[in-house]
Symmetry: C2
Subunit: 425 residues, 2 copies
């Protein structure tokens, strides 16, 4: 039983390809989401379908896999059952012999007032589509009322200077200056601000200081206002606009507030009644099993290893493969092995042909070379030829033309049509 | 002032490229929809973004065009003003010197009970996405409860045997047998029925009898149940399924009912207080102007020419170009010319490498040759290189692999998550 169809869950299922087991994958969505490119959907560089791939399609040729679309609501490690709610609203219990818990992480607001209500996070496909739509709505509205720009009602404030915040603010600025400025020639798009706020003294805390400084310089050169060393105090809704109040008293008016400042492990971890880390991750044994439950493994963002690994794709993929191997070993009566993470490096892109990549050897790639490395790696990891080809077409088009395809706003997305979103018959 | 960014509205705006005029395009969506391929979005062959193209992008290089995203609610031909509601919910009035009314057509149910509530039409992008989602939801639900198939809760009943109904039922059957049968190996997908119902004695009434018979034979061979000569009496909701009651007493259980049986002109036509045809189209003079209002032209689906032209792309495109020419002539003080429609033929595809195309010369292309003609024509007319390249990638992939990319169902689409669709901050 694999809970979650993210990078970890898929790696675990693929790792069990040759094993004499029946694999059940349970996820609330019927697709795998390529989260590292979500910010490109939010900034209209990619279509939603470019970063989402039907899980059933991934395992079409792996006969021992069954996919269930259901939300996991609870796990009973002692009874070895997973409680789910299906799409029809019906609750069910699924029992297992071995478990791979790969439920990932969720956005967390650290209790900052107004974030939940007035900011958009970037964890799900819907988040990305919501963000894109909100930005485009503001621009369409401003076409009829350009004074919205002076009042700051088109500004985007991105909270969080990790890779997601850096990538989102960079791509958003590029979207504004290169695309929307042409789409809305009557608007003074250059006066629309993109502001990146980070509480720590520098950007990209997980990378070297040099990379953080480079990201800051590049973003500033491209027009993003970067504010480091100051946290968000609260976000207030003033009707037509939101205002982000910083800890130093600064008030930033915004049309859209993006929350990319924090994740914590899926709340499923709490339901287990086992020891958790400060970030809500499950404290695991050195073979990634949950202490006292040798048949249950936690991997990726939900796993609290020692030392803690970053909540990105690589630890999840390696953890998934490891868990699959341990399940196979247990079936053969062999002892389980300790998990050894192999650091392959980190990277973040800062927009058009600029990225930083750091390798464990200490080697760094920056600028265009970093960007090519980033592009190649993401294409290799994107699941399925079709997605890869489409992504390449979209990227090539964006790169050559500064045009972007995915910027549609439908009638029902606006207040134009007062009727509610059509419920499905 | 051009009302509507469909084929007619875009052609009119492009036709005014060289004229000393300010062109305003008003549409409730900010995108042009390539309606002829909408059924491919509904059957997961194409992504939504492949058939929708931002209008602002289309006219980026045409400096005399301004685009407004607003819903036109009324037109006063005497005062020469167009009443709109903007995205913010604010009403406004826009005055014009010349008008091109290209508001298109809407689906009509002919008052048949239950269609509005329990069927999905195929006019808007949202319709297509709703249809795709409804079908996928049924399959995901059936994965947990296969008896849904026996009760007919996965069947699709398509009402209307014109090109849309023929194309949708053919593509839906292909989607079931070639794609979903592999995605859901535990389900008896072959027992899921696709039923096409047409009140007239044959399919494709606008084409020759031979083409209608060919479509019927091909659909039947591919597993679609075709019922001609019997109308729909009513659609009843039985909770888990809908039942389509035909005029001959037959009751067809269905998970999803598609309504492709009728269109009528946009209700805007009624608001004008001018003479209308039976289908609600505006009776126009031979130069396409609205009688008594030489500065106002109606084109495409909303125009009632003599003889009436089919409500497809070609008459709208030619009408748009004609209206643009007449506006230019009037500016120069010249008399307007009569509109002469040049019939370029009709076509309908019936699924994988089979289509019928008929030309005014009497020449017909069928089977693979017809399909290639259909494919080429649609690629040529799809606006923008990017869309074309993506569509080609998607089609090539579908053709070679029988895989389809766009079959994602997100958590918030199902009852899994009881919380309402997140409202945008």
């Amino acid at each position: 039983m694999i809970v979650g169809a993210g990078f970890g869950g898929l790696a675990a299922a693929k790792g069990l390809r040759q094993s004499p087991v029946d694999v059940e994958i349970v996820d609330a969505n019927n697709f795998h989401l390529f989260q590292p490119l979500l910010y490109q959907v939010a900034t209209a560089g990619l279509d939603a379908d470019d970063v989402a791939y039907a899980v059933r399609g991934v395992f079409r040729r792996q006969r021992n896999v069954n996919v269930q679309m259901a939300k996991v609501t609870a796990i009973d490690l002692d009874r070895r059952v997973v409680g789910v709610v299906r799409g029809t609203g019906v609750s069910d219990e699924l029992s297992y012999d071995s478990l791979v818990l790969a439920a990932g992480a969720v956005s967390t607001t650290y209790g900052i007032a107004g974030i939940d209500e007035h900011a958009i996070s970037l964890k799900s496909l819907d988040d990305a589509l919501d963000l894109r739509l909100a930005v485009l709505q503001r621009f369409e509205e401003a076409a009829a009322d350009p004074s919205m720009i002076e009042r700051g009602e088109l500004n985007v404030v991105v909270c969080g200077g990790g890779p997601t915040g850096v990538e989102t603010s960079g791509a958003m600025m590029e979207f504004f200056t290169k695309v929307l400025a042409k789409d809305f020639p009557t608007l003074d798009v250059r006066s629309v601000r993109v502001i990146l706020v980070e509480a720590a003294p520098r950007l990209l805390g997980a990378l070297s200081e040099k990379s953080g400084e480079r990201a800051m310089r590049t973003l500033a050169k491209r027009g993003v206002e970067v504010r480091v060393g100051v946290g968000v105090d609260r976000v207030v809704d003033e009707g037509e606009r939101r205002v982000v109040h910083l800890a130093d008293g600064t008030a930033l008016p915004a049309g859209v507030v993006v929350w990319a400042a924090g994740v914590r492990a899926s709340p499923l971890a709490e339901s287990l009644g086992v020891e958790l880390t400060k970030g809500g991750r499950i404290v695991v044994a050195d073979d990634l099993s949950i202490p006292g439950h040798p048949e249950a493994f936690a991997i990726g963002d939900i796993a609290g290893t020692e030392p803690l690994l970053p909540q990105v794709a690589q630890p999840a993929i390696q953890g998934g493969r490891h868990a699959a191997r341990q399940i196979a070993r247990r079936l053969e009566g062999a002892a389980t092995e300790a998990f050894h993470y192999r650091d392959k490096g980190s990277m973040a892109t800062i927009g058009r042909h600029d990225a930083v990549a750091e390798f464990p050897s200490g080697r760094r790639l920056t600028g265009f070379a970093g960007w090519v490395a980033w592009l190649g790696l993401h294409l290799v990891y994107l699941i399925g030829f079709r997605n890869r080809a489409n992504v390449l077409v979209n990227w090539a088009w964006n790169y050559l033309t500064f045009d972007r395809g995915s910027r549609i706003v439908a009638e029902r997305d606006l207040a134009i049509d007062a009727s509610p979103r059509r419920s499905l018959p």
